[in-house]
């Protein structure tokens, strides 16, 4: 057991290190610009006074290491600085945005995960059957679709033609839960379709990998019924790969959310990020990028740890 905790602690350490380096990159990406960011943002005609004021505003007048430490301290204590565009405290509005995005992601995951596991398992069990081939073709096709294509097809059929769902998901905090869920359904459905294909293919590959191992063949040869082989022999060993698939795809979902939020005008973190990039509102972009990066890295870390815990071969590497 002690070696297990050691490996997990190592991974956690690595994760913290990664987060640290990523935060360094996000904070110092400003320095990448040849010349000065103030000139790029204010234009050539800016007077020396406005340049100086702008430099003080985004903190460029202080030395780099102090600027980084202050930025990091702010990030950790919930003070993310001020938006350049609206002059408001970022912390004021980023909280509701984040919770909206997490809500959308959560609803999408609640649909996608069970559906992908079930369909993937079926495809693996009836390998090379007609069903499997159709699933292969369908998932390959849907992986190739841009998110906005899926979104607009859904809007056309479920909103414009039939009028079941609203085409715009303008949720706000004062909505009742049921109403909020209803308005979130269409973007969530889009996200579900987007991650479903990936997840299904990965589940199928993981299960097929497992079913080809010798001990499963042994169980079959000794005459165990198929259902028992799956539930008692395969499933206990399948949890590792399955959880891995789920965590990886949730991480993928975190990014897919950006485009879908823009299509549905859903007031989440992704839409805020895109708006801020087009306004070149650097502090907000940095804050959003950091939040997305943290969630993504943590989910990957989780999938890493789960696969270690569930796989004895990774525990004792040769």
């Amino acid at each position: 057991m002690s070696s297990l905790t050691k490996v997990i602690l190592q991974r956690l350490g690595l994760g913290v290190l990664t987060l640290f380096v990523v935060s360094l990159i996000i904070a110092f990406v400003v320095e990448l610009l040849p010349g000065d960011i103030t000139q790029a943002m204010l234009g050539q005609s800016a007077t020396p006074e406005t340049v100086a004021a702008f430099r003080a505003e985004i903190g460029l007048d202080r030395p780099a290491h102090i600027r980084y430490l202050q930025w990091l301290k702010g990030m950790l204590s919930g003070d993310m600085g001020r938006s350049l565009a609206s002059k408001r405290e970022i912390t004021e509005f980023i909280g509701t945005r984040l919770s909206n995005t997490l809500f959308l992601g959560g609803v999408a995951a609640a649909f996608a995960v069970p559906l992908a596991l079930f369909l993937g398992l079926l495809a693996a069990l009836y390998r090379n059957s007609l069903y499997d081939r159709i699933v292969n073709l369908a998932t390959l096709t849907s992986i190739s679709f841009p998110e906005f294509f899926v979104a607009y097809i859904l809007i056309l059929f479920l909103s414009v033609k039939s009028g079941i769902f609203p085409g715009i998901s303008n949720v706000s905090t004062d909505l009742a839960f049921g109403d909020k869920l209803f308005r979130t359904l269409l973007p969530a459905l889009t996200l579900t379709l987007v991650v479903l294909a990936h997840m299904l293919r990965m589940t199928r590959a993981a299960i097929i990998n497992l079913l080809s191992s010798p001990y499963i063949e042994m169980a079959r040869l000794k005459g165990t019924r198929p259902f028992r082989v799956i539930v008692h022999h395969a499933l206990p060993n399948a949890w590792g790969p399955i959880v891995n698939v789920i965590a990886l795809n949730l991480a993928y979902l975190v990014v897919g959310v950006v485009v879908v939020e823009v299509v549905f005008v859903y007031p989440g973190l992704g839409q805020l990020l895109v708006d801020s990039v087009s306004k070149r509102d650097l502090p907000v972009v940095q804050a959003c990028a950091m939040i997305f990066a943290v969630v993504y890295i943590l989910l990957n870390l989780l999938s890493d740890i789960v696969s270690i815990v569930s796989n004895p071969r990774l525990l004792h590497p040769r």
Binding site: V30, P146, V160, L273, V285, F292, Y296, N300
Partner: protein
């Protein structure tokens, strides 16, 4: 080659045909398109008529012409990006496999860090700094995507550089570039080619998504992603015109994926996934 294609499954044949159609459209765009890419030829959002087969867009440009020119711009930019990504990632990856040691260590760790963050997030951050021009778009995505190419080419080259024939070439005093070009590269060509198709799909969708968000290819250049964005309101009037450019994007990626699927199947013999 011809025999190989004849023996391909139906999906791969269709894929090849579709890809050929796209490339043909892209190359001969000025001769096929009825109007110019930027000319305003009617009032905005005209319906589908004989004069304008797919109607006109939000400021009255011919939709069909823009779709045809969009093939050239969108595919061209994505292709250039992937080629640069493969040059960067392929060379550094093969060098890492051959040199090993601290060089391999340093670049691999750098790639690990870059891959720890979703490339969309990185790309948005960098676009904030450098602004949205076509050149910065191509370079940013090429660098971010070269990390994936690095991984593949490094691991593929690792298996080749330990072979005796590479050892022999080195012992008889061949230079590094000779070894890379004549010994390593031909032997990792098959996986790299399949990867090229996959990376192209990814980059193509990625640029389309950025353009759709208004952060990619800028107007008045005709481009499928931003065409969806510009005409999106039509959807609410039960008009499928904005779906056309999106379908054009999907059509090409589906075709490439079908071909890649077949190539992966060929190169791996019997792969389960």
């Amino acid at each position: 080659m011809g025999k190989l294609i004849l023996g391909a499954p139906l999906s791969a044949k269709i894929g090849l045909l579709v890809i050929f159609g796209y490339v043909f459209t892209a190359v001969f765009a000025p001769w096929i398109a009825p109007y110019s890419e930027t000319a305003i030829v009617g009032s905005s959002y005209e319906l589908w008529t004989e004069e304008f087969i797919f109607g006109t867009d939000n400021i009255g440009r011919d939709m069909l012409s823009r779709l045809i020119f969009g093939a050239r711009n969108t595919i061209g930019i994505a292709f250039a990006t992937v080629v640069i990504a493969f040059l960067i990632g392929g060379v550094t990856g093969m060098l890492a496999a051959i040199l090993g040691g601290w060089y391999d260590m340093a670049i691999s760790r750098l790639v690990d860090i870059l891959m720890a963050v979703p490339s969309l997030i990185f790309a948005l951050l960098l676009l904030t700094i450098f602004g949205t021009s076509i050149l910065s778009l191509i370079l940013i995505i090429a660098v971010l995507d070269s990390t994936r190419v690095f991984r593949i080419s490094r691991s593929a080259a690792m298996n080749v550089v330990v072979m005796e024939f590479v050892e022999a070439a080195r012992l008889r005093g061949e230079g590094m570039w000779w070894v890379i070009r004549k010994e390593v590269l031909p032997n990792i060509m098959a996986p790299l080619l399949a990867e090229f198709g996959l990376r192209f799909c990814f980059v193509f969708l990625f640029i389309a998504a950025l353009s759709f968000l208004g952060l990619g290819i800028q107007p008045p250049t005709a481009d499928w992603g931003s065409m969806v964005r510009d005409n999106a309101t039509l959807i609410n009037y039960n008009d499928i015109t904005p779906l056309l450019p999106a379908a054009a994007i999907a059509g090409l990626t589906v075709a490439v994926n079908f071909v890649v699927d077949w190539m992966l199947h060929l190169s791996s013999g019997l792969r389960s996934d």
